[in-house]
């Protein structure tokens, strides 16, 4: 099978008000197969949202893709013209945002907002598009499509608003869906429900999906593969089951250990301190040379400060960037 998306050596940097620019993504490589869910795991400053924005060339004006290529369905998006991109954005690749209450227009009924997406991309007549709007909404709200369609965003719950955003995203039948923290503002029950919606869409429409999150627990039982981003570098990439149950990169390991595990929580574990990664991942703290995780790494060695680790293949398409494994 041919990958639907192939990202090669992607470098993205931002200019800040002073002349200095900083690298948000430094050499990101990955591919995505059709019908596959790739979970992108990263904390603040890891570059995960920059990744979503650069895949659609929607970076803010101070952002710049310096090198690399993004092949989507065989075509390099970075070499595409503005009008070609317009045909792709929202139609072939669509984006679901984090905050549904901000992404929806507050004074337009939900159905109309889905209709507008269709009208922007499809040339069919109005009544055909209305019909299609109804179909799309019915697929996400089997029981109450009409009521939702006539509601304003403030009349809907967080989960319903997120479903409306998903309806917009799938209305034109895209082949790739990028979801940037789509469940971060929802409670766990609704979160689980929305993850279920994404799974169904993948199974029924054969969508490929990039699911960006800071919460590794959400990816368990959901993603097919997991890509761990740290400071703009791919720390680890592999099958979700392998990465989540036996992580290899010191960052991934430390991150998972810092989460309270409910099953281990027998009396003596409670209220004991969690093992933490010292410091934080804000960009100001990243070293300019060597491995980006070196200052916080529990397993740092001499080499780590001198040069960047290379990608090591651990087998079964599980790769890690760390000197511990040869790098």
């Amino acid at each position: 099978m041919v990958p639907i998306l192939e990202v090669q050596d992607l470098h993205v940097s931002y200019r800040s008000s002073g002349e200095a620019s900083y690298a948000a993504l430094a050499g990101v490589n990955f591919h995505l197969m059709p019908n596959e869910i790739l979970g992108v795991l990263g904390e603040s400053g890891s570059g995960k949202s920059t990744l979503a924005a650069s895949l659609l060339k929607l970076l803010p004006s101070n952002g710049n893709i310096s090198t690399g290529s993004i092949f989507f369905e065989g075509k390099d998006l970075l070499c595409s013209s503005a009008s070609e991109l317009e045909q792709i954005r929202g139609k072939r690749i669509s984006l679901v945002y984090q905050e549904p209450s901000v992404a929806l227009h507050p004074a337009i009924r939900a159905g109309e907002q889905v209709f507008q997406v269709l009208a922007a991309h499809e040339s069919a007549g109005k009544s055909a598009l209305r019909q299609k709007t109804r179909q799309v909404l019915a697929s996400l709200f089997p029981k109450e499509a009409d009521r939702i369609s006539n509601s304003y965003p403030h009349q809907l719950s967080g989960g319903q608003r997120q479903r409306v955003l998903i309806a917009q995203a799938i209305s034109c039948g895209p082949s790739l869906l990028i979801a940037d923290e789509p469940t971060a503002s929802l409670d766990p029950t609704t979160q689980k429900e929305i993850l279920g919606v994404f799974r169904t869409l993948r199974d029924e429409l054969g969508l490929a999906m990039i699911f960006i999150t800071h919460n590794p627990a959400l990816l368990a039982g959901f993603a097919d593969r997991v890509l761990v981003l740290y400071g703009g570098h791919v720390a680890e990439l592999g099958p979700a089951r392998t990465v989540l149950s036996s992580p290899k990169h010191p960052y991934t390991r430390a991150l998972f250990q810092s989460m309270p595990q409910i099953l281990e929580n027998t009396g003596y574990m409670r209220k004991t301190k969690l093992p933490v990664i010292a410091g934080d991942s804000s960009t100001a703290q990243l070293p300019l040379e060597g491995c980006v995780f070196e200052p916080r790494c529990p397993d740092r060695m001499e080499d780590c400060r001198k040069r960047e680790p290379a990608v090591v293949n651990l087998g079964e398409s599980h790769t890690v960037s760390c000197f511990k494994y040869g790098g």
């Binding site: 766990p188 799974r199 627990a217 309270p260």
Partner: protein, 269 residues
């Protein structure tokens, strides 16, 4: 012995006028009762809209309950005269979910910390400055951040600052309303550790409002499960997790995302 905090049959009813002028009633709290012992943590868990936040607002005197009582320090703060309540209020502090919204971006870190001290006017100018330095150390921030704006801090540093500000008036009860939810996982662990340290050091009592059951289980002595404005189940954290009695508790447990699922087959749709 009097419990440290006791809430009895607390009711909060919001009324609002819809566009046609008729009044709608929303019962946010429908007879909530529970007690918290000193130096312990009670986690309040529940879905969105179950009344968790309203409960926090009522106890911190930001909302006036419709009926019921809140016993704190041997007095019912619901019926207390405003002048008396004012004296009690510094002892109960609230920390919000998103520190980027609860800290004034135009103020420096120092101004944010000095405000509660100056408003109280109990300390002299030099003393307030010393107190601010001590507060920064207590929450693990360095005092050379004093002149920065909160926008120049990371999410974790901002939440530490929010905690330092809450500690300024030496409260006895901290209400944490989803105080960890907006933070990265590794930062959540750091702040959780800070909360544990504070409890050991100064004997703080926490009301930890959250929808994260794993963190609730880690930090709390007891868990109260809320549903539709009522506490449906309360008990020692381990009991609630291992032997949930109520349907809603089982439902919350089942929805909890966990890395332990990594070994299980993918989620059914």
């Amino acid at each position: 012995m009097q419990p440290f905090l006791r809430v009895e049959k607390l009711v909060k009813c919001y009324e609002r006028q819809n566009v046609f002028g008729s009044r709608e009633k929303l019962l946010a709290l429908d007879g909530v009762s529970f007690a918290v012992a000193q130096e312990t943590t009670l986690a309040v868990v529940g879905e969105s809209g179950s009344g968790k936040s309203t409960l926090g607002f009522c106890i911190s005197c930001l909302e006036i309950p419709t009926s019921g009582s809140i016993w704190f320090g041997g007095r019912d703060i619901v019926v207390l005269a405003e002048s008396e309540r004012r004296k009690l209020r510094p002892q109960i502090q609230l920390i919000f979910q998103d520190p980027s919204n609860s800290l004034n971006p135009r103020w420096s870190v120092e101004e944010i910390l000095l405000e509660p001290l100056n408003l109280q006017g109990k300390l002299k100018r030099e003393e307030t400055k010393q107190r601010a330095v001590a507060l920064m150390t207590q929450v693990g921030l360095s005092s050379d951040m004093f002149q920065r704006s909160p926008t120049q801090l990371s999410g974790g540093q901002r939440q530490r600052l929010a905690i330092a500000r809450a500690l300024a008036l030496e409260p006895r009860l901290l209400i944490l309303d989803e105080a960890l939810s907006a933070l990265d996982c590794s930062v959540q662990a750091q702040i959780a550790n800070l909360l544990i340290e504070l409890q050991r050091a100064v004997g703080m009592t926490y009301l930890f409002i959250t929808h994260d059951l794993a963190m609730a289980a880690h930090l709390a002595d007891e868990i109260a499960v809320m549903n539709r404005g009522r506490v449906v189940e309360q008990g020692p954290a381990q009991n609630i997790l291992r032997h949930p009695k109520e349907e809603i508790t089982r439902h919350l447990l089942a929805a909890m995302p966990s890395l332990d699922n990594a070994e299980r087959p993918p989620l059914e749709s």
